[in-house]
Amino acid sequence: MKTFTTRDWVYIAVFGALWGAVEITLGAYLHVIFPPLTDTFLVGVILAGLGAIIALTGRHFVPHTGSVLMIGVVTALLKALSLGGVKIGPMVAILAESLLIEAGLVLGFGPFRYSTQARQPSRWAFALAGALAVSWNFFHKFVMMRLLYGQGFTEVAVKMVKDGSQLLGLDVRYSIAILVVLFVIRLVVGAAAGWLAWDLGGAVRRRLAREG
């Protein structure tokens, strides 16, 4: 991990604060609208998608390995210190998503590396990183239900299939198809978030350049 300059740390703080603000404000609203025990799919996908957009836009401005992880750590700490009190689930999700974004960007240096800039990820790497980050939402429930409530894989999977069959209008007999569709939706949302983050980073850079 490269040593960050003061400017890098300030940018990390800015994007950490932005992601934190989304988690604290929008997260609270969404959890009120959709109570946490009834709907984690929609809330999780929206928050993870927005988080991936902000973190990956931050990567434009702090182009070093580890910057997104640091943005995630700042966000998780802000969430922990927020007035709403300690919430373990979102903190674990934020850290896992930022780690997966880093992993996606590292993987993106391989087959998806089309950028001409040395060691800079391409738009495809951003999409891959976003897809990996939002895909965490699928596994999050398994991890947290085990950790928080001691539930096993089967119970969580059965509940997920039941919820998914209602959401997608599919019969519960197609359990594998339901799980695959739920996972693919997350991948697509994440990839779109990464794709948008690439555009957003460019747009912000152009705005800053235009205004001097």
Binding site: V14, A17, L77, L147, G150, L200, L208
Partner: protein
């Protein structure tokens, strides 16, 4: 040392360092994942005892309704939603197994929330910054401080941007409006961050330099770690 001081583990009395609290938090996380259901009560007792010994500040979430909205639904909905229904209470069909599953769920969530609250209650932002510096993440404490101070600025910028877009009819094209909103908020935040960088430079701040003493692992932390290890092994392996 008075009798009270012997039992007072609070950070301010120079007994436990932030490492001690970190050890306690990791211990709770590990045991919540590993212990069989019936033994979670032992863990809960230990977590509550530790919270009391460290000043009781970590028990503050228990006074918030929000805390109970996480715990009570698991307890109340367990017999209704989980397990096979084997009990009739009026028109309600309940499950005994579901009740126990709900109870263990609630106790696990209780343990974790109190453990996190104890750890965060004991660590101020500056303590966290020192802890990060000690483990080699020297700028992270600085970034956390900047981020905390940025939150009100971001809120003002976001509100101003939202109202400007709304008054100009920007929300007739929602996607375009969302993009404009994000670009404006991020660009303003980055512009504001230039002032922060300049202020840090004016104060000769250098993220690679250590500020203040590193957080040392104290004897009390070591004793706590040994006690928790013994207790954890006892909880996991002692035949009940």
């Amino acid at each position: 040392m008075t009798r009270f001081e012997i039992w007072d583990l609070r950070l301010g009395n120079g007994e436990l360092s932030p490492w001690g609290y970190l050890v306690f938090l990791l211990w709770t996380l590990l045991l919540v994942g590993l212990l069989p259901d019936q033994r979670v009560t032992l863990l809960l007792g230990s977590v509550l005892l530790f919270a009391l010994l460290t000043g009781g500040g970590g028990l503050r979430p228990l006074r918030r309704p929000r805390f109970w909205t996480l715990i009570l639904p698991a307890l109340a909905l367990g017999p209704l939603l989980l397990g096979e229904k084997d009990l009739a209470w009026g028109w309600l069909r309940l499950s005994r197994a579901g009740f126990w599953m709900g109870l263990w769920m609630a106790l696990r969530a209780f343990c974790l929330t109190v453990a996190f609250s104890v750890a965060l209650n004991a660590l101020s932002v500056s303590e966290m910054a020192r802890l990060f510096e000690t483990v080699g993440l020297k700028g992270l404490g600085f970034a956390l401080g900047v981020a905390l101070n940025l939150l009100p600025t971001l809120q003002e910028t976001s509100e101003a941007t939202y109202h400007t877009l709304r008054l100009r009819g920007g929300f007739r094209r929602p996607w375009q409006a969302l993009k404009l909103f994000l670009v404006t908020v991020i660009a303003n935040a980055l512009r504001h961050s230039d002032d922060v960088v300049n202020a840090a430079a004016a104060r000769a701040f250098e993220p690679t330099l250590r500020r203040g003493e590193p957080v040392r692992f104290q004897r009390a932390d070591g004793l706590l770690a040994v006690a928790l290890l013994g207790l954890g092994c006892g909880f996991a392996f002692w035949p009940l």
